[in-house]
Subunit: 140 residues, 2 copies
DNA sequence: GCATAAATGCAACAGTATTGCATTTATGAA
DNA sequence: TTCATAAATGCAATACTGTTGCATTTATGC
């Protein structure tokens, strides 16, 4: 797995402690993280506003994509594909577990093609599934 | 179109002024409404908390379904099919216009069938599209 | 090492949503 | 129609989510 430090370089982001720590969190977790999740871990070291702004920068540069989670809060996850500051290519679906509350990218499940009624111009598609995740099902 | 009064009866909801007025709003608008939209119209007549609780009741009884809009706020729309308090059947997609900010149910566009990796149990699917709506495209 | 632009911390604030409790109201039965 | 009761409402307080402005600190390239 890529190191946080080189990733920041590749994406044209300054290597600050805060950014390294936040990126490390994403690299060491498979699930999507909300601002609150990050604040819980790093909140004593960095200001909440800094965390918001870091997430925003990461998204702008194509390092993270955001997910409108069923929890209501926005979550973020690492982009798998070659996203840049110009365009995101996150055409996979997201799964939210109603039991553990975690959200995952199902990178192997692509969003199916859609035909909308005439008159609509589509710029983005969001597809999410809700249910019980692998880990919770296995735990039964 | 059905009247608000009889709809409340059918869904086992008490016929209060607040509920009638809120339901009338939904019956007279095609787009999904957020709490803020309703408060703007009825906020001087009813408390914001009452509006929240009314929306929650309507959803519980299967009269409305909620949409996690791109605006961040939750929006609500009338259920077309025979939803009940036990199960929602809103398997259509939602369209959010980035220009006018409105969200619509595309009842005629059904969510395509999906196969998820083994281990996941799916209870609900959410599919939304983002772009320019019919009306905004026509206005150009 | 130094100048500079970027990032951070802090304070204040706005919007969204929830909870508890007292009061009012819709409803069905007498 | 009256009445008892459970449900709905209003109000106050609070929590959560997210944003903005500005002064200070820091990473970066020269």
């Amino acid at each position: 797995m890529k190191q946080a430090k080189e990733l920041l370089g590749e994406y044209g982001l300054r290597k600050t402690k805060c950014r390294l720590d936040i990126l490390d969190l994403f690299l060491s977790h498979q699930q999507a993280l909300a601002h609150a999740d990050i604040e819980q871990v790093l909140g004593d070291r960095y200001d909440r506003v800094t965390i918001y702004r870091t997430l925003y920068s990461f998204k702008e540069q194509g390092l993270l994509h955001s997910i409108n989670d069923i929890s209501g809060a926005v979550k973020f996850a690492l982009c798998q594909e070659a996203c840049s500051q110009h365009q995101h290519y996150d055409n996979h679906i997201h799964f939210s577990c109603t039991q553990c509350g975690q959200t995952f990218c199902l990178n192997e499940v692509h969003i199916p093609a859609m035909t909308l009624p005439a008159g609509y111009s589509v710029h983005n598609l969001h597809f999410s599934a809700e249910g019980i995740c692998k880990a919770c099902n296995a735990r039964e």
